[in-house]
Amino acid sequence: MNAVDSLFFIRSEIFLAAVIFVVLILDFFIQQKRWLGWLSVLSILIAFFLSPSFYPDSGLFFNYYTLDPFGFFFKTIAYLTIGLTLLASLAYEKIPQKQAGEFYVLLLTMALLLTFMGGATNLLMIFLTIESVSLTSYLLTGFQKFDKRSSEASLKYVLFGAVSSAVMLFGMSLLFGASGTIELSQIGELLKSSASIPQNVLTQTGGANTHGMILMGMLFLMAGIGFKISMVPFHMWAPDVYQGAPTPVTAFLTVAPKALGVAVMARVLFFAFPDLVHKWAFLMTWISIATMTIGNVIAISQSDIKRLLAYSSIAQAGYILAGLATPGELGLQATLIYIAAYLLTNLGAFFTVIAIERNLESNELEAYNGLSVRNPLLALVLTIFLLSLAGIPPLAGFIGKIYIFSSAIKAHSIPLALSIALNSAVAAYYYFNVVKAMYLAPPKVKEPLTNPFPIKLAIGTMLFGTFLIGLWPSLIIQAVVKSLANFPIF
């Protein structure tokens, strides 16, 4: 589809881009920056409802942006995460007031870029969107620039990110050289045809023996995307970055880029390499097992709640990847359902941490002693989110775990199923450690915790969602089935 016809379908993105400029300009005149924050939240909401109600037949902008139900699912994820992060950051005083306007602008741009990332179906757009999302993440991580830890986290993130981008780009160049195209689906077709055409014909026309090279390109590409979703063995940056970043940014980073990274990974694997499915499914199985195990085992010994949740989010990435390790309809559904459940639960947990951090000025686990006395409601809410992360019914995390587990069983992947079961037990241990501190340890001081409205609203929304998916799972299951309707599952 040409550029002018495409404009109709990206009206919500155009609206957001316009809002970005409006916020930038209003930043000069408005002293109370929180109004800019509210404006941003509102515009995310409006932009979401501006999305077209039907999908185009072909890719927009000469196939550089694909708008399909799958992309829409991830657009919803991105908007939800950004909107709620904006709400939470309204209550987070450590972002310098003078730069709050720019902070909101960066988050709004992030929503736009993440949407494009979910709609990328060729190598150029994949590289461009992943790179720009990373660039914005570096900036957001280092936003408390007078905090040494924040600056260090940002620098670490830049260095690791640059290397991973280089690796990914190298893989892309190999893929392009071997296949002569940047379209994912055309790479897939080339692989398919080179398997069916006899070798002697291919040697004359060129394109023979490209199998090894394409496999190599795929590995590099997966390593590059794996960095962004903190998949083991490319997870080393995650704990430091998650701990050093401002807490609302950490909440956002553990969810949205990870979810969109998985979306890109799914598109790459299913569009471009359906013929190599046995190879990458095997690889993914062991990566998934390693990711969840390493994340969970290191999380046990953490004494800082942000670091604990950071390692837990590495482990959660492992569960999400388990859906890709068991390719097929059920596996993909499991991935999407788990992402939705993880979004609600993990954001909720981090928002509760923000609410506690702004009162206690500390993220040490010891500071959580006796929280149930100082603010019973907050302690209860955090307990619920942690239970959901551990996968206890009737909460959202349970539905996700059920799906992941059954897809592993259905694919007869016994090591994966076993590892999910064992890891859930390990994870429950350190989640309950936090609960134990809040309920059983005596508090040092008794003064109660108070919080402003925006953070309460953000936590309330997440709590509502966690129970909604947990009690009426058919809602999310139907949405996921619908969003996978056009997805090519061999």
């Binding site: 550029a3 930038l24 000469f62 550089y64 870029l113 150029l124 720009s132 060129g206 090279m213």
Partner: protein, 167 residues
């Protein structure tokens, strides 16, 4: 004519070897300022490769942006940072040998795959002039182009936020 062709081939490989040599010097030299200079030569060498492959526009851009703008920036950064130019700052750590072995093994694997692959090459060179490039940027590639412009704006804002000294 024959002699020109073989001369061109020889000099092409000469340039490639030269790039490799200065690239290795870039990462092994102890003085960071020298490393930056070697990096500039590496990037210049890449521009020469582009010239050889008749991608003149790309070569021009490579020289303008990398050798001109970015290297100047890097050298400024080195000169303005007090301790970083000190040759006593170690350039490597204890993991250098395990890393080297791993990389060598990987290189062997990669090179053997590259040699095994029959690349889809053409005899006729595709020439791209600036006019067609500009039209493509505003036509087929308009979407990535606009996304890049948005990212540049954000990078600019981010740079200001990071560099501003007030609280």
């Amino acid at each position: 004519m024959e002699i020109f062709n073989s001369l061109a081939t020889v000099s092409f490989y000469g340039v490639l070897v030269g790039i490799l040599a200065v690239a290795i010097l870039t990462v092994t030299t102890r003085n960071l300022f020298h490393a930056a200079i070697f990096l500039a030569f590496t990037l210049l060498g890449v521009a020469v490769v582009y010239f050889f492959l008749q991608a003149e526009f790309l070569a021009g851009v490579q020289i303008l942006i990398y050798v001109g703008a970015i290297m100047t920036l890097v050298i400024f950064a080195i000169m303005l940072t007090s301790k970083i130019g000190d040759p006593n700052v170690p350039q490597s750590n204890r993991q250098r040998y395990p890393a080297l072995i791993l990389i060598l093994a990987f290189a062997v694997f990669l090179i053997s795959t590259i040699l095994k692959t029959s690349w889809n090459t053409t005899e006729t060179l595709q020439t791209t002039d600036a006019i067609r490039l500009g039209k493509a940027l505003m036509g087929e590639f308009v979407f990535p182009f606009e996304v890049v412009s948005l990212v540049l704006l954000i990078a600019l804002i981010g740079a200001i936020v990071v560099a501003r000294s007030d609280q």
